[in-house]
């Protein structure tokens, strides 16, 4: 008799099982997830027979961190519930923050006005129509003081979605906290500060890649010394995904960016274990439930392996990938917007089952406007229900060991590695950006996705199936055009009241420093303290660094 392993037996039985149902009628020819990975009818131990528990999964909080960043995960502490918020003036947003804190939110997340994001003053013609529409209008330290008025910055952590001018907003935050009587060592929070994904997807760049990378490394170096609890970059896949990438592309491009920052830090002469623990990640959570969960699990394992094997990181904190998640804005529908509450619940649940450290759940009205107070409250309540009522937080990584989940985690890792190879072949992330590699990959994926929706290969409820003609009736948040006037006024008054000679002097010093290789953070801090505007600082740096222009490919 031939010895039969368990795997052989399963294989044989599986074939028999399949043959017993020869005329299997299935709804579709193939079932593909959003990364176009074919999903099989059934997974068995044979699909994960190479899996080695100790090497590939391990224990939560331990290498390779597949099962979670921390040993006890949500049994110890729930994720931070952090709703991204900002609109109108600093005063309006300050009120929204207080509303959210009052309803149990545990961290702040600042959305900035587009003019702030591009370092354009409110008075500039280019800011026409944009002030306070997509985020809170900030021009000078004065606005920042109002934004956090009555909020103790030594007690709460703040995430700021800011990239090209991240160093400036960080400086403003530090100075605002100083004025509240808190030292930089006490501050906890994150600046997004991820310029690579700006070129790839989000598009709010200002300077060319090289000087932008310098500013980022400046903030890393500065925070390592003076703001040790600050997360210096939130390496973001969110926007890559929103721009149309698949889940695998989001995973691969984001981690490739992360590793590029690590290389830049090492090139500056920093010790990898001194700064890597302060890098964090930011992922999207889209509609395909298991695909998202596996993406997070694969991300942790890939990061740990590369940090250990390629960059020689030793501290567990350097190997441990921690991430924030936002549910997919692009998945929200303008049709029957209340259905978005259900989508967001599933997406939020996927993030939690994937082990997120913080979460933003989108409000159901966000395909139509910035969220109303009622909509954002429901979004926050969704998180609280997942956390407190569903029981999914009772044990760590509850889906581990599922043949499907482990197979898909492996598959996503494998496909990400294929992308790393392609990026490597192009000479790294920046050369790949310049060759429009990422941009083309994303444009192709988003067009394919849209075609699949229109061909009804993918169903979006109430959009391409079960549509109704009833008009949308949810109340919308409207940003008053007065906000722009008010912002312009405030800026003009500041410019009259401040010591303009001192401003010019500090900007000049910044300019001179920018020409050399010194860390620019102290110079930016000095300019902030005398109420130089973000626009003035950016313009000063533009004189030295120049600006970036992209190829408009589609």
């Amino acid at each position: 008799m031939v010895f039969m392993t368990e795997f052989d037996k399963i294989k044989e039985d599986m074939e028999e099982w399949q043959n017993s149902y020869p005329n299997k009628k299935e709804r579709r020819k193939s079932f593909r997830n959003l990364s176009n990975i074919d999903v099989k009818r059934l997974y068995t131990p044979n699909d994960v027979k190479e899996l080695n528990y100790e090497l590939d999964l391990g224990f939560p909080g331990q290498y390779p961190f597949t099962r979670g960043a921390y040993p006890n995960m949500y049994r110890g502490r729930l994720w931070t519930m952090r709703q991204f918020a900002g609109f109108g003036t600093a005063e309006q947003t300050n009120n929204r923050y207080k509303f959210l804190i009052e309803h149990g939110q545990t961290g702040l997340s600042v959305a900035f006005s587009l003019h702030t994001i591009y370092g354009i003053e409110a008075t500039d013609q280019k800011a026409l129509g944009e002030i306070g529409k997509e985020g809170v209008a900030i021009d000078t330290l004065k606005d920042m003081e109002i934004l956090f008025d009555g909020i103790d910055l030594s007690k709460i952590s703040t995430s700021m979605t800011i990239n090209a001018p991240a160093s400036i907003l960080l400086a403003m935050y530090i100075v605002t906290a100083e004025k509240q009587g808190h030292s930089p060592e006490q501050l906890r929070g994150t600046i997004q500060n991820d310029i690579l994904k700006e070129y790839i997807a989000q598009k709010s760049w200002i300077f060319p890649p090289e000087p932008s990378m310098r500013l980022i490394v400046d903030t890393i170096e500065y925070c390592t010394k003076y703001v040790p609890q600050w997360y210096t970059i939130s390496i973001s896949g969110y926007h890559i995904r929103e721009a149309g990438s698949t889940a695998v592309q989001e995973l691969a491009f984001t981690l490739a960016d992360g590793l590029a920052y690590v290389e830049a830090g090492i090139e500056r002469g920093l010790n990898v274990d001194d700064f890597a623990p302060r890098l964090s990640f930011f992922f999207n959570s889209h509609n395909n439930f298991f695909e998202e969960i596996c993406k997070y699990r694969a991300a942790r394992r890939i990061w740990a392996k590369h940090m250990k094997n390629k960059y020689g990181a030793k501290k567990p904190e350097s190997l441990r990938l921690r991430f924030h998640t936002q549910t997919a804005g692009v998945s929200l529908t303008a049709q029957e917007p209340e259905n978005n509450i259900v989508r967001v619940t599933l997406q939020g649940l996927a993030a939690v089952l994937g082990g997120t450290q913080s979460l933003h759940t989108n409000s159901f009205d966000e395909a139509l406007c910035l969220p109303t107070e009622n909509a954002v409250k429901i979004a926050l309540r969704t998180q609280q229900i997942i956390a407190q009522e569903s029981g999914v937080t009772d044990t760590v990584d509850p889906l581990a060991g599922s043949y499907y989940v482990e197979w898909l985690t492996n598959k996503m890792e494998e496909e990400a590695e294929n992308y790393f190879q392609q990026i490597n072949d192009l000479g790294g992330v920046i050369p790949a950006i310049k060759a429009n590699f990422f941009q083309k990959e994303i444009a192709n994926a988003s067009y394919k996705y849209q075609q699949e929706i229109e061909n009804r290969e993918r169903t979006i409820v109430a959009v391409n199936q079960y549509q109704q003609k009833e008009p949308c009736t949810v109340p919308l948040l409207k940003i008053d055009e007065e906000v722009a006037k008010e912002q312009v006024n405030t800026l003009n008054i500041i410019k009259q009241e401040r010591d303009n000679d001192k401003v010019q002097e500090n900007l000049l010093k910044l300019k001179e420093a920018a020409k050399g290789t010194e860390n620019l953070m102290p110079y930016i801090m000095d300019a902030i303290r005398v109420y130089a505007s973000i626009g003035e600082i950016i313009n000063t740096l533009k004189e030295v660094f120049g600006t970036y222009h992209e190829d408009s490919i589609f």
Binding site: L114, H115, I117, Y118, I120, Q125, K126, A127, L128, G129, E130, K133, E134, Q202, K203, S204, E242, A243, G244, V330, L332, T333, A334, Q335, A367, L368, C369, L370, A443, S446, Y447, Q450, E454, I460, V463, N464, P471, C472, L476, K478, I479, E481, E550, D551, S552, F554
Partner: protein, 133 residues
């Protein structure tokens, strides 16, 4: 318009809004539908757009705005086109345009207003059926 000539469309991203997924997907769909498509890229000021219209002489201009700046930017673009004596070009705006803003924009001469979830074929047909020349 002579039948053998391709419809020429300018797809634009006015203002600071970087959300260009929709604009790019639309540009490709219009191209796949046999039109000649120029995509301006992002961060276009009203002057940039009008200059491109003057240079390229498109049959249609498709503005994509998701930042909420449509009420401020669209009228300026329309005025500047008028200043150039351009009145035979279809100008449409889409993205996130609340229903209540449509009458105002319509009065300024804009059309379209297609939002999230619109089939690309709907927009392709719209362009074909609303050309002014």
């Amino acid at each position: 318009m002579p039948e053998d000539r391709k419809i020429k469309v300018l797809v634009c991203k006015p203002g600071l809004d970087g959300h260009d997924r929709g604009a790019k997907v639309l540009a490709r769909a219009l191209r796949d539908a046999g039109m000649e498509v120029i995509y301006t890229g992002i961060h276009q000021t009203p002057d940039d757009i009008v200059n491109t219209v003057v240079q390229e002489d498109p049959d249609a201009v498709m503005l994509s705005i998701l930042s909420g700046a449509h009420n401020a930017l669209c009228p300026v673009i329309m005025e500047k086109l008028e200043e150039q004596g351009i009145d035979d070009v279809l100008v449409a705006v889409g993205g996130i345009i609340p229903d209540e803003d449509k009458p105002f924009l319509e009065k300024k001469g804009l059309k379209g207003f297609y939002g999230p979830g619109t089939d690309l074929s709907t927009i392709v047909e719209f362009v074909k059926n609303n050309l002014k020349r």
